[in-house]
Every structure is written in C-alpha cells, then in structure tokens.
C-alpha cells in the first residue's frame, strides 16, 4: 500500500524537468509539499509524536522508493534522523523538512541560560540544511547529551552541494538558542545516528541502483547497432546480469538491515554490511549502467545521471565502504574467530 501509493506519487511528479530544476534550486519544494500532505515524512513516527505509527521497515520501504526516483527532498533526514531524535527524546516533531546533525562526529556544545538551551558548534556538510525549516542536533553539555531543534535562520549557513546537486552545507552556530530541547532519549547517540544515517543511505542507494538497472534494461532492449539490439550481444547481456546481481544484493542487504534495526540488539554487522554492500554495488553498478548506455548516458539530458551521481555521492556519506569495513573488521577481529559464525547466523 505504502509503496504503491508512493510509487504512484513519485511517478506522477518526478520527471526530468523537476530533477533539473532541483539541481539548480537544491531541492523540489512542490514535491515535498505533496509528500508531506500524504504524511510520508512521518510514516515511522509514533502516533504520540504526530506520526502514522508505522515501523522502521515501513520507512525503509519508503526510502527505497524515494531512492529509485531520485526524489530531491530530505525524506531520509526528516524521517530517519531528525524525526527519530526528537520523538525518541519526547519532543514534538515539527512539520516541514528537517535536517539533522552532526553528520561527521563534530561536537555541538549546549549550555543552559535560564530556561533556554544555547548551542554552539561548527558542522561540515550537513545534508539539506539550507532547505530545512528546522535543524535537529545532538549536542553535549559537559555531562549530558541533548537533542535540540534550532531555526536555521539563526545559524550561519555556507551553501555546499554533493555531486548530484543536493545541499550539503556548512553550518555555524554561535550561541544559537534552541527552540526546543530535551535530554537525549534512550538510544539517541552519535553512534546510532551514524548507523541510522548509513542505513538511510543504503536504502536510497538500493533504490537508485534499481533505477539504473531499469534504465539499462530498457536501453539494451531498444538501442540498435550492427543491425541488432545491443541486448542481443552476449557481452552486454553479461554486464546486465552482473548489474542485476549487484542490485539484488544491495536491496537484500539494505532491507535486511532495516529489519535488524527494527528488531533491535546489536545491529553493527547488519548495518555495516548494508552500507558496505550497497556502496560496492554502487561502484560496479553505476559504471556498468553507463557502459551499457554509451555516450548518451553521460549527458545531462539523459536521466541516468540523476541516479549515478547520487550513487557516487551517497556511497561516501555516513561512512564509505572502506570506513565501515575497517570498523566491522576491527569488531570481528576483537571478537575472535569462534564467535564470528554465531554472529552471522544470529537471525
């Protein structure tokens, strides 16, 4: 249901024109409005926080579809990160696009001034900050972790962007008063933030890979050279088969990790695996898709680059496959040889 209605909505609204405009403007506010009306940014928020009470797996399904259509809106940040931090800390979740940080482990300090919390810090490459109505931050006092929500107009924002033109902004907070703040709820830590960020990117990448495969299949079915459809050449068939494998593995890994996170417990293996596997799939997958397309695929007129530029950007965000592999490898080595298989087969 969720997936079908979102697919329909995005099919109707996300086209080349919208994506090109978003590249200039940073995002697609009209599309956001439609998604917001349909409550998609709040699917997985508890009902008390104004959400639809869905599960993390519901949100995962939504992000996969968003990735497939390269939807230029901060759905992942709003739902997976900012909304989660607020709701988990007992704060209301404001409507509107939200950004979340810190995404790179920077420190935001919080101090009390009367009844207010005052925040300071410098953040690099915060996704969607310039388009967000609120910035949700995990900050620290000398003793406590605080979740706070600030108005980006009180921050200094230097616009930046990723390969696909999505906003990735430097944000400077100099004694910015929080609109709302609370002690960080259970489980709201830098580490979980990073895990959820990585999971969100894995899901988006799984979707983007699906689109790259769809486009490649269509193209191979149409393009004629040497009097034959290029899909009739075995060399092309085999590349497409390999792409298909990468896509299937990426989807399996990303959705499985979402399920693992929903069930709780130690999710490092699941989420690290998802980010590593989707990033690897992005590497081979994006280039296979381009190879199949020939020159047309590298132009800004063709739709393929909306997916591949995002894949190349997203694989680096919230830790690339080298960073996650190293961390996962470290954890496995510390655990030792014997516990490894039991960990793999825990679910």
């Amino acid at each position: 249901m969720l997936v079908e209605s979102l697919t329909r909505l995005l099919k109707d609204h996300v086209d080349q024109k919208l994506l090109v405009a978003a590249k200039q403007q940073g995002w697609a506010p009209e599309l956001w409005r439609k998604l917001d009306e349909a409550e998609f940014p709040r699917v997985s928020l508890p009902e008390e926080a104004g959400g639809a009470g869905g599960t993390l797996s519901d949100l995962a399904a939504v992000l996969r579809v968003a990735g497939r259509f390269a939807a230029p809106v901060p759905l992942a940040e709003t739902a997976m990160l900012a909304g989660w931090m607020l709701a988990a800390s007992g704060l209301p979740v404001p409507r509107g696009p939200l950004a979340a940080g810190p995404a790179h482990g920077e420190t935001v300090t919080a101090r009390r001034e009367g009844s207010h919390w005052i925040l300071s810090g410098t953040l690099t490459r915060v996704p969607w900050a310039q388009t967000a109505s609120r910035l949700v931050l995990l900050a620290h006092t000398t003793t406590e972790a605080i979740v706070a929500n600030v108005d980006p107009r009180h921050c200094r924002i230097a616009r930046g962007r990723n390969l696909a033109g999505e906003p990735r902004d430097a944000v400077r907070l100099e004694d910015v008063p929080a609109e709302q703040a609370a002690i960080a709820g259970p489980g709201v830590t830098q580490e979980t933030f990073r895990l959820r960020g990585a999971l969100a990117r894995s899901l988006l990448m799984a979707g983007a890979l699906e689109r790259a495969l769809e486009l490649s299949v269509e193209y191979a079915q149409q393009r004629v050279q040497f009097g034959r459809k290029i899909g009739q050449f075995q060399a092309i068939q085999h590349e497409i088969a390999r792409l298909g494998g990468e896509v299937a593995a990426a989807v399996a890994a990303a959705l499985s990790a979402a399920g693992a996170m929903e069930r709780g417990g130690d999710v490092t293996l699941a989420v690290a695996s998802a980010k590593i596997r989707t990033a690897e799939a992005a590497r081979d997958g994006a280039l296979i898709a381009h190879q199949v397309h020939g020159a047309i695929g590298v132009t800004d007129e063709h739709a393929l680059h909306h997916s591949t530029l995002r894949l190349w950007a997203w694989r680096e965000e919230y830790g690339n496959e080298a960073a996650w592999s190293t961390a996962l490898g470290q954890a496995i080595q510390e655990g030792g040889a014997e516990p490894f298989w039991p960990a793999v087969t825990a679910h």
Partner: protein
C-alpha cells in the same frame, strides 16, 4: 525485478530453526572432539559413517514426508542444517546429491514405487546417488547428450558415456539423462531420466584424477545396460523439464557460497586481535558480502517453504526462483574466491597441502579447487545469459 514478493526486512529464522542449529552444533562439536572427521576444504569428503550419523538425527531428507523416511521439517530448518555442516566442513559427499537433488526430484516426478524404494534408503544414509548429466560432447549444452536408450521388452537398453560424474565410484546408482527418442528438431523433447544401478552389468566406472591426484569424479561407460521400466523417473520424454528444475535446486543453497568459509574463520584467527588496517578492511568486506548472500539464500529457502511444503514434501523451485538462484550462485562463487585471495594476500604463506597448520592447509586445499565452483552447476557465462534473459526478455 528480483525477489518479487520477498520481504527482506521481515525475513527471520523461527526459534525452532535456531534451536535445531544448537543441536547441529553440539553434534558437530562432539564429532570433532572425538576426531570422527578432519575438516577438509575443496571437494567435500565422502564418509559413509558420518552420513549414517547425520541420517540417524533425521537430517537427511528432512523436508520429505514421513512416509518416505523424511521428517516433514521446513526448508528453513534444512537451510540451517546445511549451513552448519558447511561451516564445519563436514564430510557430506555421500548424501549431498541424494538429499539435495535426487530426493526432491523423485518426490516430484518419481513413481510411488521409486519413492518407496529409494527415499527411505537415502534418508537412512544407506543409499548414495550420483548425477549423470555431462558427457564428453555435452557440457553447458546439456540438451545435446548422446547417450541413448532403446526400447526393449520390460525396459530400456542404455548405451553411451557420462563424464565428470562425482563420486560414481562410491554411489549405488545415478540419474542418467539420455535420449529415448531421436532429435527431430525440438532438442528438448525426447530426453528422459533413468535410474541406473552403478553395479549393473555393462556399467564401467573409471576415475578421472583431479589436478592434485584426488579421485573425485569419473567417467562412466554404459554398454547396453538394461534398465527396467520401473526405473524411469517421471515421464518418458519429459527429462529436460525435470533436469532443469533439479538444477535450480542445486544452485540456491549455502553450498554455493560457503565452501571456502572455514578459511575465512581461520583467517580471522590468524589475524588476531590487533590486525593491521588492510586485514580489518578485507575481513569487514568479506563479512558484509557473506551476510548479504546469506540473506538472499535464506529468502530462496523460505520461498521453497510455503507452509504446506512440509506436508507435500515436494520442492517447488518454480521458474521464478531459478533466476534468483542463479544470481546467488554467480555472486557466491566469486565471493568464495575472494576469501582465498584475501587469505593469501594477508597471510603471505606458501600454500602447503600437507601443512599441519589448519589455515595453511585450507589455503592450499581451496586454491587447488578454486576453478571448479564457477564451472560446475552452470558456468558463470551460462548463468549470466540466463539472468539476462529474465531481465531483457527474448529480443528479436
């Protein structure tokens, strides 16, 4: 595009399967402790005594109906048993084929008489099967087999040559794909599957040595071998359909990505608690790939198990699953290779087949066998063509 209808986020092993896993682990630990077997990588070892013990525990033919010696357990439970046996590099060659291919094939296509005759014996670990598909002139192009069967009173007379027949020198019987009618244009017609007793008059089994001298596979000559009508599997002339569904079963399981897994465990042991950055990265990467492959393989096992599966017993690897199975096999075989590569680059030891160190021995054993996974059970090239056909459709 793939895994239509599979909900990966909800996919989880039921508690019963995890309890079974503990049983299997306890069994394997005690077998190892008593030295009942020594784990080897490469070709799975053939060990009749071990197979009997596995059978005693009800782990052969475990999804089959009880009336045929099965345990009516789920494919997920079978999945758990299989992956545990593989993780321990247990010697399963005696029953692998019967459990994975011949049994399900008999359940699906075999006559009541054949089921009664063979399934309980396979499940008891007393009857071993081999597979006679390949021939000198027919590898990937299996429909071109030339072994033929001629109609005689009460049965068939079979003449021809099979090759690469794994464990034919130890098995009791094998499935033979042969021509029962001449090729008249549609090459997929006129093929049948017969069960041939490997001790029957006219059957000659000759070893073909593997490059390290091991005797794993054989050539089997069939000279006017009599096969009674009862030994025909399914319908005459329907052999092609039967064989292709068997192949799908062969491709989907953990044995397609786990044959070098014990080397990864030994690599982790060898790298220790303070590994360098390269070791950490490679171990992490390989683990991520293992984890992802396993999720896909699990999804396939689950789809084989539509609740009623246990009662009906028949494996229904429908055509919709066959492509996913091919995908898992294709990626799984490359994953297996990459474990070997990581192990040799990180450890930098000279592979020694008779090393006393387990890691070094495993490395040698896996390197020697490294070419076979991408050849047997459908070559990489053939699988990719099949996968592409599903994606692209028939292009004209």
């Amino acid at each position: 595009m793939f895994f239509e209808g599979v909900d990966f986020s909800a996919l989880e092993l039921p508690p019963a399967a995890q309890a079974l896993r503990e049983e299997v682990r306890t069994f394997l630990r005690s077998e190892l402790a008593t030295g009942a077997f020594t784990p080897h990588l490469g070709h799975t070892e053939f060990d009749a005594a071990f197979t009997l013990k596995v059978a005693e525990r009800g782990w052969i033919g475990m999804t089959w109906p009880k009336r045929y010696g099965g345990a009516e357990r789920s494919y997920l439970e079978r999945f758990v048993v299989t992956e545990e046996l593989l993780a321990a590099a247990a010697p399963c060659a005696a029953h692998w084929f019967g459990d994975r291919q011949t049994g399900p094939s008999l359940l699906r296509y075999g006559s009541e008489e054949l089921k009664q005759r063979f399934l309980p014996a396979i499940a008891r670990g007393e009857c071993y099967f081999a597979l006679g598909m390949s021939e000198p002139g027919s590898g990937s192009d299996l429909a071109s087999v030339r072994t033929r069967a001629e109609r005689v009173a009460g049965g068939w007379r079979v003449t021809g040559q099979k090759v690469w027949t794994s464990w034919a020198h130890r098995a009791h019987a094998f499935f033979v794909l042969c021509r029962t009618a001449p090729d008249t244009g549609n090459r997929h017609e006129g093929l049948s599957q017969l069960i041939v007793d490997l001790a029957a008059p006219g059957v000659t089994v000759r070893p073909i040595r593997f490059m390290n001298g091991h005797h794993h596979f054989n050539e089997v000559f069939l000279d006017n071998v009599f096969v009674s009508d009862e030994m025909v599997v399914g319908e005459i002339s329907q052999g092609w359909k039967q064989v292709t569904s068997e192949l799908a079963l062969e491709r989907s399981g953990p044995e397609r990505y786990m044959t070098t897994f014990p080397l990864l465990v030994e690599l982790i042991r060898r790298m220790g608690a303070a590994p360098d950055a390269r070791a950490r990265e490679l171990v992490g990467k390989l683990s991520a790939r293992l984890w992802s492959l396993r999720r896909m393989s699990l999804a396939i096992a689950l789809t084989l198990d539509p609740g009623r599966g246990a009662q009906q017993g028949a494996a229904r690897a429908g055509p919709d699953l066959a492509t996913e199975a091919a995908l898992v096999k294709d990626m799984g075989t490359f994953f297996e290779r990459d474990i070997i590569e990581a192990a040799r680059l990180l450890a930098a030891v000279e592979p020694t087949p008779d090393a006393t160190d387990t890691f070094e021995r495993y490395l040698a054993e896996t390197i020697v066998c490294s070419p076979v996974a991408t050849i047997r059970g459908g070559t990489t090239e053939v699988l990719r063509t099949l996968i592409a056909r599903r994606l692209l459709g028939a292009l004209k």
